[in-house]
Amino acid sequence: MRRLLRGLLAPWRRSLQLRVVASTVLLGILAISLLGAYLFQKVADGLTEDRIGYAEREAAVLAARAQTAFDQTDATGDISEFNNFASGAIVALAPPANDTSRYVVFLRSQDNTNAVRLDTVLTGGLRTSPVPVAMREAISSDVGRQQRMVIDLDRSELVGEPSANWARARIPAVIVGQQIQVPTAGPYDLYFIYPLDREQATMDLIRRLFLIGGLLLVTLVGGIAWLVTRQVVNPVRRAAGVAERLAAGHLNERMSARGADDLALLGTSFNGMADHLQSQIRQLEDLSRVQQVFVSDVSHELRTPLTTIRMAADLIHEGRGEFSPALGRSAELLNTELDRFEALLADLLEISRFDAGAAALELDRVDLGALAERVVQAAAPLADKRGSTVTVDVAPGGVFADADARRVERIVRNLLVNAIEHGEGLPVTIRVAANSTAAAIAVHDLGVGLRPGEASLVFNRFWRADPARARTTGGTGLGLAISLEDARLHDGWLQAWGEAGRGSVFRLTLPRVAGEPIGESPLPLAPEPTDVDATTRLRPVRLTETR
């Protein structure tokens, strides 16, 4: 049910045109219905009034004729003869047998207490008197005045008249009545009932015409609304299409802006915006290109002399045994500081390449487990020096992802080297796992960990955990910043967790298929508390096993 509703609502929300047309049609239906109902009522009232006027005049004439007949009779002696005469006089007032335009009812008035009683006369096959009590009372209370009323006449039980003769058995009817004075029998009520058959037929026709006309009108209004909104919506849709193509990088897309109307204005302003955007983007691109060229030039200009220095320093370093102790130590310092300088230069150039947007991915299907093993092997000398054991735990079946192997390797190397350097000689674990959308590598050490708030700072350029602390480690301060950029380039995540004394976890999450969203990382960022406890407890055992 809800889905059905949503299925109906979706195009409603999407299409302005649909909304406009639907609202116009709905409002049109409402307005036409109200107007139609009002007009219809007016026409019906007018027709009924006409009929009533006619009925009143005819009834007055016929009643006068009956009164005259009664006044001139001398057949009052014998009651049955008088009865026959009265019936004849009343029936004479009714139309011929096949004419049903008028019924006559002759009733003894309510307040007649006379001893002589005439029979009730009903013409046209009426079985019972359809005269409402209220009318009879009104006549009795206001003798000499004609009374009229509209009633609902039920003709389904007329004698001798099949109901199929009428379009409908129940019909509104005008009833007109007055009192006449019957000699010796006292006051009697004479009623004329006029069924509104003709008027009803006219009203039915008018109703049909109103319905058809209304439908046509609503359709017309809907069509007009559709055409009009199309004129507005189409340019808007075109604008949206052009905007989309612009957003997709086709900066030369423009709208056509002809004429001087609002839509042309929209086109013109849109194109103005696009021009402005294009020039801004061009400018930025130029800046970026200048930056790239500059970085590249700096790179080349710095690297060539540095290579010479490097080679010369190496030769000097190799021959340091022949120098005095001071010179020998200087040669050593020269060498190590050159290493640092080189690393710093390389990292700076790498960062500026990211900043210039010049970094590009070279995607391939990468076995992340094998990659982690390679990194661990390469870092083995450092791990040995620090006394850390590094274990790699790859999910069964291997973990593969679309990635740039060089960059991912660099990330993992950075994370592992950091973990070893801050791991205080305790074991380091690398876990590699995948779910349906993402693959992750988490590097977990049990060293100094991170203080609250530091997890977000570690990726900052040149950030140091403790500025006052001596820079004992060899890092450039850019490793994690570069790693973060590398991860972002993959649309991946690089996150840190740490607690003072409990160690830290750095987790890299990559989409398994390039371009697909990650959803959820297959590995938890923070270790389970029991996890840490277990590892802590196992620590001495693991050490004896490995040594």
Partner: protein
């Protein structure tokens, strides 16, 4: 190590330093500073290896590399200051066998030079077949229907490595170690580019290779040919 190295580099200090290091390894060194003089120097001195700077006055390293490659398979190691993918790939595609990125350590350069000079010293008489190709390992020749296909020594080594164990899948890392002599991780793009170059010479349809087949996510292997 014996042999003659042609250094093409406009930076005189670096060229001199390179000379000192290489002579220390017992190699003969010839130096030219200008790209346009490089091809002539190559013809005059017939070096066993060329160290070629990418940025050169006159003719740039890429063009020099193409010209020399057009007439010889001599090992060419590029010296590049750029680590940008495009620069390296263009360098490799112009025919360079290997590259070192400045700044490099002397040991690194010597390892690369040694790896490229090592080959061709002693080869057992050995004949291999891969697809419809016949390989004479000692004679350094590859023939199809008796017609020789000219390959550079590096391309030849790559083909021989694959052909020695047909159907075994070689990862790029293993090929880097066996063919280029990298003991630690090297740049796998070296393998990709040279496989492409090799294919363009030996495959009937380089777009649909049958002799050197890619195994997605792993590496390459020698196919049945066709």
């Amino acid at each position: 190590m014996k042999g003659r190295v042609l250094i093409v580099d406009d930076d005189l200090a670096l060229a001199e330093m390179l000379g000192i290091v290489l002579r220390g390894e017992g190699l003969d060194v010839v130096h030219v500073a200008d790209g346009s003089a490089a091809v002539g120097a190559f013809r005059d001195h017939k070096p066993d290896l060329i160290l070629l700077d990418v940025m050169l006055p006159g003719l740039d390293g890429i063009q020099v590399c193409r010209r020399i490659r057009a007439e010889s398979g001599v090992p060419i190691v590029m010296l590049t200051a750029r680590t940008d993918t495009v620069d390296i790939v263009v360098g490799l595609e112009s025919g360079a066998d290997d590259y070192v990125v400045k700044p490099f350590k002397p040991a690194e350069l010597i390892a690369r030079v040694r790896a490229r000079l090592r080959r061709g010293e002693e080869a057992e008489p050995e004949r291999l077949e891969i697809g419809d190709l016949a390989i004479d390992v000692a004679g350094h020749s590859v023939t199809r229907d008796g017609k020789q296909i000219p390959l550079t020594p590096l391309e030849f080594d790559l083909l021989v490595a694959l052909a020695r164990k047909p159907w075994q899948v070689y990862t790029r890392e293993v090929l880097l170690e066996q063919v280029w002599g990298y003991r630690h991780a090297g740049d796998t793009r070296l393998v990709n580019v040279h496989v492409q170059r090799l294919r363009s010479k030996i495959e009937h349809d380089p777009e649909d290779p049958k002799i050197v087949v890619t195994v997605r996510g792993v590496g390459y292997k020698a196919g049945p040919g066709g």
